[in-house]
């Protein structure tokens, strides 16, 4: 069976086991939230020093925003399959929120597609360092799959239609 041209990479399904791994590993990050954020940016700027100037000098609020966003992602993943028909308000919908985030990254911050790879690496590194033994292979796989989906969605930000008002306020 031939696959059509430019099919692109396909992420395999996020299974229930992956969701559980994400939720339970994130619970462990909670108490070390500040440290995790510090680790992430430290690693990111090690990998890509040129990104430092894209961020404000005082990184406190940036780190808080990052952790809030990741919390939101984890919370969004943590819903039972049986609830798939429930309606979700726009500002709680993972797809809409991440698309809007991606649009801001493209339009305001001029982040290139290439940036998503080092960001993903830094995130994995920070979780690995912060969680230690709790960062099992399953947890690693789950986070990289979720991150891949998030990155794919954010890159679509450049195709996003500017809505009247769709901002992330968490």
């Amino acid at each position: 069976m031939t696959v059509p041209r430019s099919w692109g990479t396909v992420v395999s399904m996020i299974t229930e086991a992956h969701k559980r791994a994400i939720v339970s590993s994130w619970r462990l990050v909670g108490p070390i939230s500040d440290t995790a954020a510090d680790l992430f940016y430290k690693r990111l700027f090690e990998l890509k020093p040129e990104y430092r100037r894209l961020f404000p000098d005082d990184m406190a609020s940036q780190k808080a925003k990052l952790m809030r966003m990741l919390s939101f992602v984890v919370k969004s993943l943590d819903f039972p399959d049986s609830a798939w028909l429930q309606n979700v308000p726009d500002d709680n919908d993972l797809f809409l929120v991440i698309v809007a985030l991606g649009r801001r990254h493209v339009e305001l911050y001029r982040v290139a597609d290439e940036a998503y790879a080092p960001v993903g690496e830094a995130l994995t590194w920070a979780l690995d360092y912060g969680l230690g033994e709790a960062f099992t292979d399953e947890v690693r796989t789950a986070w990289s799959q979720v991150y891949a989906l998030l990155a794919t969605t954010m890159k679509l930000g450049s195709a996003s239609v500017r809505p009247a008002d769709r901002s992330f306020q968490h």
Partner: protein, 531 residues
């Protein structure tokens, strides 16, 4: 909603698989429309990571989906669609369907087989299904304008559409195709109390061609997936479908069935539980099941308490030939133990028959047995209510682990209130993955004249998680004693004139149905009061 469009772009810049992967992480009703130089060529409808439907020219279902995925398209438009008035079985999970490795596996399993019945129905019950069969069993003309590339899965056309969809949903969701299709057909045969809007109206109104289209495209007609006809006849003979629906024979005429009749959707199993005994679990379970059945949901009431109090409550201890515990041990078949009732929609599985079970069966791990019993019941029900023995240990422990939801009963009395503290903790101690979701907590036997009783209500409102407590509260009332003395549930004490307190269970049933999302969602249609 001002701007329904979320994304618009060129497929040269963004790969279609990426667009679909992104859409899959959301939980709104979202449609993906694909166009080439000649205009819009098709649309994929999604919700919560699932493909609900797809249409492309005259194709629909998986056929259309793969045609759209394979054919060279130029632009995509992702837009929000209004909640459809009906939900049909999803074709499958997006990430699964677009995975090239899975596609070849799916293609293998969806070759049309002559052994599967397509438009012939075994009993006269599925009149509504017959009305749709002609539209999907006619072989589709292959369009020259939208030819898939060579090597696309053969056999995903024409009459195999229904079993295809069923096969796919069985590869991604738990229930088997034949089982869930039996559920679909038998619910389609139920007397229709509500009017159906054919889905074509819902989708056609939304699907507008993109402004860039040079030539106007015909409005696509959305033909819902006809549920595959049942392999075996449904439990009760059904009345014919109302004539109002047969006027539209080319579009789906499935009645507005509760959601669980949609194959792929698993019927919830609700354990009614409490740490303390005598708080009213059996009363609540019985009357709730009755009300749910009256509201149109096919309900099975399972008595999980080996003491068999459900039969005591309806003064029928001498009736059952066998019960749940006999089925669990393989001593009697489920079909012989499941009892019919005055309501078609309500069946009861008593705990025991005339013989007491051996005490030592309770030493075993009964969870797998309860699990498979619930699975068997799920095929013929929209919702299952399980009355449990008091406490969270013993037999109740296994039922909780096999159930999908738990409904806690809190008696408005001090001792019961103190014991209720165990409820959350005991649930937390269950192994992950075998922990039922808390559907809610109902306050029972409230005595408004007693300060101590009201105090429990007050404490419950402040101490329990806000989403737990049901709005409906059941008072202590002599009607309950009269009903049990008569050996009937409250709602049947006097069918023409039920006691006022009986109506509370209808309210509780509505709340339960809402929390379980038992009804297919549809758009709100408010109506002005004054003429």
């Amino acid at each position: 909603m001002t701007e329904p469009d979320i994304l618009r772009g060129y497929l040269a810049e963004h790969q279609l698989s990426h667009v679909l992967q992104a859409v899959s992480i959301g939980r709104q009703y979202v449609a993906v429309e694909l166009s080439d130089a000649r205009g819009a060529r098709g649309t994929i409808y999604t919700k919560s990571g699932r493909v609900l439907a797809a249409e492309a020219e005259e194709r629909s279902g998986l056929d259309a989906l793969y045609a759209l995925l394979d054919a060279p398209m130029e632009t995509f438009r992702v837009y929000r669609m209004p909640t459809p008035s009906e939900v049909v079985q999803p074709l499958g999970l997006i990430l699964d369907l677009i995975d090239p490795r899975r596609r070849s596996a799916v293609a293998q399993s969806t070759r049309p087989t002559t052994s599967r019945p397509t438009s012939s129905v075994s009993s006269g019950s599925a009149t509504a299904v017959e009305a749709t069969a002609p539209s999907t069993s006619a072989p589709r003309p292959t369009t020259t304008t939208l030819t898939p590339r060579a090597g696309s899965p053969p056999g995903v056309v024409g009459p195999s559409v229904a079993p295809t969809a069923a096969a796919v949903s069985s590869s991604v969701a738990a229930p088997s195709a034949s089982a869930s299709s039996a559920a679909a057909a038998s619910s389609a045969s139920r007397p229709a109390a509500t009017v159906t809007r054919p889905p074509a109206a819902a989708y056609a109104a939304v699907h507008t061609p993109t402004p860039r289209t040079p030539t106007p495209t015909p409005t696509p007609t959305y033909t819902a997936q006809a549920p595959a006809p049942p392999i075996s006849a449904p439990q009760s003979p059904a009345p014919p479908a109302p004539p109002a629906h047969t006027a539209r024979t080319t579009t789906s005429t499935t009645t507005r069935a509760p959601l669980t009749s949609v194959p792929g959707r698993v019927a919830p199993v609700v354990a009614v539980a409490s740490p303390k005994g005598g708080v009213g679990k059996t009363t609540i379970a019985l009357n709730l099941a009755l009300s749910l059945a009256r509201q149109g949901h096919r309900t099975v009431l399972v008595d999980g308490d080996p003491n068999g109090d459900v039969m005591s409550m309806i003064d029928a201890r001498d009736r059952p030939r066998g019960g749940a515990y006999d089925v669990l041990l393989g001593r009697a078949p489920l079909s012989e133990c499941l009892l019919r009732t005055a309501l078609d929609e309500l069946s009861i599985l008593p705990a025991i028959g005339q013989e007491l079970p051996d005490a030592d069966i309770f030493m075993n791990d009964l969870r797998p047995a309860w699990s498979s019993l619930f699975e068997a019941l799920r095929r013929q029900a929209d919702v299952i209510i399980v009355d449990t023995a008091a406490g969270h240990f013993g037999t109740t422990h296994f039922q909780l682990r096999a159930a999908s939801h738990v409904l806690g009963v809190l008696q408005a009395e001090s001792v019961a209130h103190r014991s209720f503290e165990v409820f959350g903790r005991a649930l937390g101690a269950l192994p992950e993955g075998e922990r039922p979701q808390v559907l809610g907590v109902v306050l029972n036997m409230l005595q408004t004249a007693e300060g101590g009783s009201v105090e429990v209500l007050r404490r419950a409102c402040s101490d329990l998680p806000p989403s737990w407590l049901f709005d409906v509260t059941i008072p202590r009332h002599p009607a309950f004693l009269h009903a049990s003395s008569d050996g009937v549930p409250l709602g049947l004490v006097d069918e023409r004139n039920p006691p006022a307190v009986a109506w509370l269970f209808d309210g509780l049933a509505s709340e339960v149905a809402e929390r379980l999302a038992l009804h297919a969602p549809r758009e709100r249609r408010p109506r002005r009061l004054l003429l």
